[in-house]
């Protein structure tokens, strides 16, 4: 059967439409309220049209602004938008420049940390049969020439010894506060602009109903990016992607983590309609019937 005329879908939509229909008395009540508001604040017919701007906020008692107020608001909005754009552009530029200017130092400084019996070599390239990662690979560390008389072994194995692990932490710090803030992040972490770009890819995949791709991108992001960068957005996307996939347990895990990160997260309402909310509703109704 064609998805266009699936009877279940058609019936659910019909019922939802019927439920949303207003009663005549409701419409009359609204018209009366509109009339009284119009009478209280006469119409100004020569205001500047703003077809795309969001409307003035306000509910029942909202005042219709006059022409002067509208021009003021438009001017203020234009300037604040420009200033905000410049600020964001500057911040991204600083992040990018910082990332570009980072010196490509070896993971382990040979002069400072090498000891007798240690071996240094680059990690071997990935086997051709391995699947291509969705993200670009992290930039390789500058190769360190093998010292005479030392055996050549992969860097991973060298770092895996406790002694070498201690040495790997001996990389000189670049700056004070920045380094402290990103200590938990993996080395050569993605810049903020890259994190934004990857997150957008994941969100696009989720919206295009490809939750597997979205989750894979998020996993890659978790592996490569600073844990704190856009944490809430990443978790919210993960919840939605897991819901799309029908993995309610994973969605709930991510939602709990999101709640831990920020109990009053702005994404809570967005997730209110997802599978975690349905699950919560199911369990609460089960509890109430007991």
């Amino acid at each position: 059967m064609s998805i266009d005329n699936d009877p279940v879908v058609v019936e659910v939509l019909r019922r939802a439409r019927a439920q949303a229909a207003p009663a005549a008395s409701d419409l009359e009540g609204v018209l009366a309220r509109v009339r009284s508001q119009i009478a209280a604040a006469p119409v100004v017919l020569h205001e500047v049209p703003e077809p795309d701007a969001p409307l003035a906020r306000g509910g029942a008692g909202a005042r219709v602004p006059g022409r002067g107020a509208l021009q003021w608001t438009a001017e203020l909005r234009r300037w604040s938008g420009t200033v905000l754009s410049l600020g964001i552009g500057f911040a991204i530029g600083v992040q990018y420049a910082d990332h570009r200017s980072r010196p490509e130092v070896p993971l382990v400084s040979p002069s400072a940390t090498l000891g007798a019996g240690d071996s240094l070599a680059m990690a071997p390239p990935a086997a051709p049969s391995e699947p291509m990662p969705l993200l670009e690979p992290r930039p390789e560390a500058t190769s360190v020439p093998a010292l005479p008389g030392r055996t050549s072994a992969p860097l991973d194995s060298a770092v895996s010894t406790p002694k070498a692990k201690r040495r790997s932490l001996a990389v000189p710090a670049r700056s004070s506060s920045r380094t402290r803030a990103t200590t938990a992040a993996p080395q050569e972490a993605l810049s903020f602009a890259q994190v934004v770009e990857r997150l957008e890819q994941a969100q696009r995949a989720e919206r295009d109903l490809s939750p597997e791709v979205a989750l894979r991108l998020l996993d890659e992001l978790d592996a490569h990016a600073d844990a704190a960068a856009l944490r809430q957005e990443r978790l919210a996307t993960r919840v939605l992607a897991a819901c799309d996939l029908g993995d309610v347990a994973a969605a709930q895990r991510a939602a709990r983590e999101l709640e831990t990160v920020d109990p009053g997260s702005v994404y809570a309402s967005r997730l209110g309609g997802s599978c975690i909310a349905l699950k919560a509703a199911d369990t609460s109704s089960v509890r109430s019937t007991r």
């Binding site: 949303a20 017919l45 077809p51 509910g59 309402s269």
Partner: protein, 196 residues
């Protein structure tokens, strides 16, 4: 008798040339025109606001806000697009503003979906409430543009062309999205039914 768009535009131009202190008969005709628009399209805007996530207790405020804007701007409507499309654009903005303010002042927790089932409703209200909850739940998982496509095509039965005009997408994109949305909505319904 209903005023045509041309008449309406001529009146609007006449008003613009005379200023806010326009002759009373012209004002009266425009008021009549506004009330005609209201009578014809108010149910549609009500449904649209509900589908776009406005809660029942906030719907009257949202409707008032929407129709005050319509009253303020309907003299500028030039008839280049369908009136319904224009109203839909205003409804989207109003719903967005309400969502924003709801985020700042969060409402109490929503009632569970199955609560309605505890009280039998002979008029079929329970089924309609369940269907609404399903649709609202699904809409909550979509981004704003997909929500609009869903509301226009699947709930209001608009053509792909009308939906494209209302959402700013091109027609083929709308068609593709409608197909994907239908599939996803069917999956959503099945998943929910399995659970219950």
């Amino acid at each position: 008798m209903a005023l045509g768009v041309d008449t309406h535009q001529r009146l609007a131009r006449a008003l613009s040339s005379t200023g806010p202190g326009a002759p009373a008969p012209v004002q009266a005709i425009l008021t009549r025109r506004f009330e005609e628009i209201y009578a014809e399209h108010a149910p549609f805007t009500w449904r649209t606001l509900r589908h776009l996530g406005i809660a029942p207790d906030a719907i009257e405020d949202a409707m008032q806000e929407l129709w005050v804007v319509v009253h303020r701007r309907h003299t500028q409507f030039e008839g280049r697009s369908d009136l319904r499309t224009w109203l839909f654009g205003i409804a989207v903005n109003v719903a967005r503003n309400h969502r924003r303010s709801a985020r700042r002042h969060p409402a109490p927790e929503p009632l569970p979906l199955t609560l309605a089932g505890e009280i039998p409703d002979p008029s079929g209200g329970e089924e309609r409430a369940q269907a609404t909850a399903l649709v609202q739940g699904f809409l909550g998982t979509l981004d704003e543009q997909r929500q609009q496509v869903f509301v226009c095509t699947l709930l209001e039965g608009w053509s792909a062309l009308e939906t494209a005009q209302a959402t700013g997408l091109d027609e083929s994109t709308v068609q593709n999205r409608v197909r994907a949305l239908r599939r996803a909505f069917k999956t959503w319904i099945e998943r929910h039914r399995r659970k219950t």
